[in-house]
Amino acid sequence: MSRSNPPPSARDVILGRVREALRSVAPLPHMRSQAAVSAAAAGPGGLTILPAEAARPWLPDGGETLGEQVGILIGNLEKLRAQVHCTLDLEAAADLVATMARDRGWKQVAWHDHPAVAPVASRLPCESHRVDESGFEKNRLEACDAGITTCDAAVAQTGSIVVSSATCGGRGLSILPHVHVVLVPIDRVVGTLADALDQMRERHAGRMPSMVSFITGPSRTGDIERILVLGAHGPKELIVIIVG
């Protein structure tokens, strides 16, 4: 094949087709609200209002004050069949988790090496594995009864817990053990998904962690006759401890 005239790459062909296709202009989508229609008037590249900004007042409520947000968060988590506890400080959270471990007969627990988790892990009455940046053996993690992490944010609007691979013990810790215990410092509670994504962008400016996950309740499936079953592949139980 001659060097001067290589065949066009798949990338060039596809982008060429895209540019060619977009030479004809698509009509505006059917929209009901004046705000959305006027936002679109400037064309797809020049929206006067971003869709997310427009949608804020239309999506489910996430609460204005921290008090409201925590209330909505707890309500949503309970509907999702997560277990919610509120403790005054990490000391109390450590007591709670230690009792839980004894009552449930946990033999092995993995925890993320983080200042918001370590004091709780130090009081565990069973074998415990610290997960830090040097990694872990996935076989051993699979055998753990529970994994303990903190979170980047907790979203009132949807009852979601936000974890990342950089700040919450990697990818496996919050999904592989049968129970996931999350410590939520109360100042991590936010109103809406948009707020959480904004925070994410600020905190990790320039480089996002390789995984960011919004966890909304314990793992579930409805694949058999559309009947809800908890614990499909991920944790069967999600235990959320709000601290502070």
Partner: protein, 477 residues
């Protein structure tokens, strides 16, 4: 243990020009007679309607939120030329590798090359409709790779040797006793009629496979141009595990999945969950920006995204129906469709079933062979009403009918219309024709005329009225 999903009854390549249509009519006729099956599917959807309505009520304004969602997709799809390269640059900056596939063949080739390079022994997959579209499993099995579907519904379908019945609820047509038998045969599990126990059997079976797999294959729901992240929506945690434990992660995604920024996800993710499954948000919504980074405890060493065209650019080139590319695959239009509920998912013979499948399949696989799907509609508009991104689904079915009439006109249809126009323009002829039909209706029944035969097969003709409507109207006036 892993039968090919390609050989299954549901997907047929139309070699005979009318093969797909004939099969559709035959399958539809057979399916509508199966009232037990129809009742079962309707019952399974019952819970969906309730939870969807409960969640919709939590929106302060669902109708206007639909505006915002459609705006987000409209502005992204109409800027694909800018956003696609932006996504690619950001994803590559994070350490990921991008591959471009013009068609199904090229996409399969890319994945097989990656498996070879990774010296893959065991492959785990999470639900990925683009892989169904390109028949990836069959190609991998031909090359000797063992592949296991990890999504419970997809796993059940893989064991059954069938494609998904519904692109969101793959095995909604299968009864629990059938699943119990299936698991007994393939996994040696004891019989049970509890959905929970059945789920736990699959859970225990799958755990080992996640840990042992060296390559994980997923799809992707959104590509975020701003940050170079791939967003994956799921409930079970199987996609999380698939992207966490194997050494290599491959994501196979259609080019139309790009959105401009993270903010768009704050609208699209909740709406996808509410419209698709009646949830505030699905259980796991995860953003992947590349392989494991320094300082992270785990994650794959390599991450690849395969960007698939496969005729999406042909749909993009049709401005009238371009909004069909806004589809976020929530499946809401299937769940409300009277046709879907009566003919079932397999009858369509397509990767994407239901109203949206009927709109896009003719673009992906040829209008001549697939136009009959445009007629599989009562044009009630329930699909358009249900669509969270406001795709004009039922009008697009009409557009496809019009386009088909233009490109492959039917002489008989044209003659019929001409005849009708000639009659309708002449009131005396219209009245005479009406009178003739009223008096010869019994004859049509007796003769079983070809045009009436299908209709008469399951119905009786109503008795002809003694007087025409026009005569009755005149008498009343």
């Amino acid at each position: 243990m892993t039968p090919s999903s390609q050989s299954a009854a549901g997907i047929h390549e139309a070699s005979d020009p009318h093969g797909a249509k004939k099969k559709f009519l035959a399958d539809a006729a057979e399916h509508v007679r199966d009232t037990d099956h129809r009742a079962f599917v309707r019952k399974a959807l019952g819970g969906y309607y309730t939870s969807r309505d409960t969640q919709k009520a939590r929106y302060r304004d669902w109708e206007q939120a639909r505006d915002a969602a459609s705006l987000a997709k409209w502005s992204a799809v109409n800027r694909l030329d800018v956003l696609l390269p932006q996504f690619v640059a950001a994803f590559e900056a994070n350490g990921g590798t991008v591959h471009w596939a013009r068609d199904a063949d090229e996409a399969r080739g890319i994945v097989l090359e990656l498996l070879k390079a990774a010296k893959a022994k065991a492959v785990i997959k999470s639900k990925c409709m683009t892989s169904e579209e390109i028949h990836l499993n069959a190609a991998m099995e031909r090359d000797g790779y063992g592949v296991v579907e990890s999504d419970l519904g997809e796993f059940i379908q893989q064991l059954r040797g069938e494609p998904p019945y519904h692109f969101v609820f793959p095995c909604m047509h299968v009864r629990r006793d059938e699943i119990s038998d299936l698991f007994g045969r393939h996994l040696g599990s004891p019989p049970t009629d509890s959905p929970e126990e059945l789920t736990m059997i699959a859970r225990r079976h799958m755990r080992r496979l996640y840990v042992d797999a060296d390559v994980g294959i997923t799809g992707g729901n959104f590509l975020v141009a701003e940050t170079g992240q791939i967003s994956i929506t799921e409930n079970e945690g199987n996609a999380r595990l698939t992207a966490a434990l194997p050494r290599v992660h491959i994501a196979l995604v259609g080019i139309e999945k790009v959105v401009a920024n993270l903010d768009d996800l704050s609208v699209l993710l909740p709406m996808l969950a509410t419209a698709g499954a009646g949830q505030p948000l699905t259980c796991y919504n995860t953003l992947y920006s590349g392989p494991r980074q320094p300082g992270e405890p785990d994650g794959p060493e390599e991450m690849h995204v395969v960007l698939l065209d496969n005729s999406r650019t042909a749909l993009l080139a049709d401005p009238e129906q371009r909004d069909a590319l806004h589809c976020i695959r929530c499946g809401a239009c299937l769940n409300v469709c009277p046709i879907f509920k009566n003919v079932g998912g397999f009858t369509y013979g397509t990767t994407y079933q239901g109203p949206i499948g009927s709109v896009i399949t003719p673009h992906l696989r040829g209008l001549a062979d697939w136009n009959h799907l445009s007629g599989a509609s009562s044009l009630c508009g329930a699909c358009t009403d249900a669509c969270p991104v406001r795709i004009d689904i039922h009008h697009h079915l009409l557009h496809n009918r019009r386009n088909a009439a233009r490109t492959t006109p039917s002489r008989l249809e044209r003659l019929g219309h001409r005849l009708f126009v000639a009659v309708a323009r002449r009131p005396w002829l219209f009245a005479a024709g009406g009178a003739m039909f009223r008096h010869t209706l019994w004859l049509a029944k007796r003769l079983r005329l070809p045009l009436l035969r299908a209709w008469l097969a399951t119905r009786d003709l109503p008795p002809a009225p003694a007087q025409s409507f026009r005569a009755q109207w005149k008498a009343k006036a």
